[in-house]
């Protein structure tokens, strides 16, 4: 009897050029965002340079099967799709079974969406905005404010994408453990507290600088602001604040022009 053994697949490697291409494509992962596939095509777009390494290259059956799998429906926070791209690239190049890859891909959507939304959209972005507003309130000029905001925000943004690709590639389909990283688990709460502290400092400073010629009216402005904020919180998101601001400014403009 002759025993048959499967040829072991060596640990895959990708060239530096391929990683750069994947990273740049990562920045456009949402380019074709739509209500049918959401980020699906974007994931296929990011993985495509890696999948060229599959046997047969671009014209091979393995490449086509992987591209078809990876261009289906997908949803996650755009920055954290890097984790998915890294781990899915590894899984595809290690020739994991198709069904297993598809189940893993589906399972990634939820955690990568909720963690990213809390960490970035509700944490890091407002934190950086408030830093920029505080800098403005303290008298920083236009270029300084731009550099502070863009520099700080993109350290987190680019760092998160690079970390995601690295950790995804390193762990492949065992990436779940990496998602228990303390930064992802506790980071949103720490950032939220820091941002709350910063909001308290930044808002009066920024308002004081913006109101400059009307400083004598600052007391009234603060009362109106507090009243407006209480009203907005009582509305519990039924009306967005920017719509109310639009209405108030339109009414004041109309009054100012008509009452002349």
């Amino acid at each position: 009897m002759v025993a048959t053994t499967a040829t072991p697949i060596p640990t895959p490697t990708l060239s530096a050029f391929t990683w750069i291409e994947i990273f740049i494509r990562q920045l456009a992962v949402q380019a074709s965002w739509n209500y049918e596939l959401l980020l699906g095509t974007g994931i296929g777009f990011c993985l495509e340079p890696a999948l060229r390494s599959l046997p047969g290259g671009r014209e091979g059956e393995a490449y086509r099967a992987a591209m078809a799998r990876q261009s289906a429906y997908f949803n996650a926070h755009p920055y954290l799709t890097a984790v998915a791209v890294g781990s899915l690239a590894r899984a595809e190049l290690e020739r994991a079974p198709a069904g297993q890859i598809e189940r893993f891909r589906t399972a990634l959507c939820g955690p990568l969406g909720s963690v990213g939304d809390r960490l970035v959209w509700a944490g890091w972005l407002p934190f950086c905005s408030l830093i920029a507003l505080a800098a403005y309130g303290l008298g920083a000029g236009p270029v300084a404010v731009l550099l502070i905001f863009l520099g700080l925000y993109n350290v987190g943004h680019i760092g998160l994408r690079v970390w995601g690709l690295r950790v995804g590639w390193k762990h492949g389909m065992r990436v779940a453990a990496a998602l228990a990283n303390p930064v992802l688990r506790h980071g949103p709460n720490y950032i939220a507290r820091a941002a709350a502290l910063l909001a308290g400092i930044a808002l009066p400073l920024a308002l004081d600088r913006i109101i400059e010629p009307g400083r004598a009216l600052l007391g009234g402005v603060l009362l109106a602001a507090v009243g407006g904020a209480v009203l907005l919180t009582q509305l519990h998101g039924r009306v967005e604040g920017w719509r109310i601001a639009l209405g108030v400014l339109a009414a004041s403009a109309l009054y100012s022009v008509v009452a002349r």
């Binding site: 074709s32 236009p142 308290g200 004598a216």
Partner: protein
Amino acid sequence: MTPAEILTIALLGAITGLDVVSFPQAMISRPIVAATIAGLVLGEPQGGLLVGAVLELIALETLPVGASRYPEWGSASIVGGALYALHPNHGAGGITTAVLAALATAWVGGWTMYMIRRFNGVIARRWIPTLGLGSGRAVIAIQTAGLAADFARGGLLTLVAMLMFDPLARAMVGLWSIDARMSRAIVVAAAAAVAAGAVWKLFHNTPGARWFFGGGLAVGLLMVLAW
């Protein structure tokens, strides 16, 4: 407004509009960045920064989460910053009209983003059989079409908004009757109310956040009084 200025502003609107979702989401589309850049390009960086700071306070409440529909601040902030920068002496109503035009553009911009997503859906549906066959070229074509459409959307939105709001703002500033102090105070009160509401919305569920906010507020008010 010269043709060169308006084309430059439209190009900036296209770039910042693209940044909101499609590429690269580096937040050059945030109001405090986009409006300041518009001011810098038109030789009035302080004015751009002023409008950007007001719009940033209002934009604090917007969470650009996935499928939700929200104002498009990138192109809108270019419009606001440019309108303020283009009127050299600003007038009493300068800030109000610039912020008002930016808010209206952001509103329409949100709708155009929704239309782009539907357009992307149409393109994707057309290519689904080819995607199912694993065509890398189809994926690249869909992504490229999405990028191009979004770039055109931002540029066109900015162009139309500037052509509409520039003469309107000039006319309104000419007829403005509320004095400059009161005009500025109304803008600041509206922005501050939205920002304070946004801070509550963002952080009220975080344990201890209200104490951090209270402590920060005390420090901030002391700094204002001390200066």
